[in-house]
Each structure stands twice: as C-alpha cells, then as structure tokens.
Amino acid sequence: MSDIKDYIQSEVTNNDVVLFMKGTPVFPQCGFSGQLVQILSHLGVAFKGVNVLESDDLRQGIKDYSDWPTVPQLYVKGEFVGGCDIVSEMFELGELRDYLSEQGISFAN
C-alpha cells in the first residue's frame, strides 16, 4: 500500500496538473471523469491523466491519499483541488482560470 502512496506522490509532484480518472483522456469510461477532461481541454490546460481502473490498489489508494471518496480527482502542483462537482463549479464561476493562473499554470484559452 505504501508503494501506491509513493507512486501517487511522485505523479502529483512531477506533473503540474494530474487528473486521476476512470479511463483515459481520449477514452473516459465514466461521465464525471469525461466532464473534467472536457473542462481541462476547453481551457487548453496540459494535464496528465492517470487511469485508476488499471489497478485496484490505485483505485483505493487515491481515495485514501486525499481522504476523498470518489474519482475523478484533480491535483494542481501537488494539491488536491476537488472532484467533479467542485471543479465544475469553479469552472462555471470563472474561478478555475484564476486558480490556475495563481498556481502559475499556463493554459491556451
């Protein structure tokens, strides 16, 4: 289990924007994950998608890591930002752009 924690830690440390999701950015396998892929793509943010369906340890491990019960989970600069509801709400209110700018994340749109 601690291997999984180390793996998650290194993913969120080595990548500015990481989305733990069901499926892949090209082929999301869950509507909520797909919604966040769409938002990030719409903003033109470069992100790494990690498919939690590839391993049961990872699927459980990411929930333990953030103490958050659901997937998707978005991380920016190592910080857990939120799941589908929170990130969607931030996007709709225009807060997501501000947040990304504050974190020094570049995006196209």
């Binding site: 909520f32 929930k63 958050w68 019960p69 659901t70 939120g82 509801d85 929170i86």
Partner: protein, 77 residues
Amino acid sequence: MAMSEVELKTLIKTALPDAEIEITDLRGDGDHYAARVISEQFIGKSRVQQHKMVYDAIKGGMGDALHALALQTGTPT
C-alpha cells in the same frame, strides 16, 4: 444498494443541524442524488473541506450505498 431521500437528509441533518438541505433524486432510483447544503458551519472552510463534512455525515455511504451524489455547498447569505 440504495438510500432513501429521507435517510440521506437525516444523516446530513444529524451532522449539520443548522443546514438547509435540498435533495433531488436525479433518476428516481434512490441511487443518484443531487444535494444542495447550506450551513453556517461551512463558513471559513474551503470547498473541499465543506464537501468532506457532508461525505463524513453520510459516513461510508458515498461510493457504496450511494452511487452518485452531486454536491453543492454554501454558506447562508
């Protein structure tokens, strides 16, 4: 396994007695809900912290008894 609207509301109300709670059963199957929860206890808390308080209130229900809960939290205006 599903959870009734009343059960869900009771769990949230027990943890956050002052909360104003609106629940919508999205598919009428007792398994996909949307909830809007307004409470003074959310003041000064981040959205992540606010949602965690609601998840804690419904205990292990999230992702287990409940397949989906679209959550919106806020503070009284």
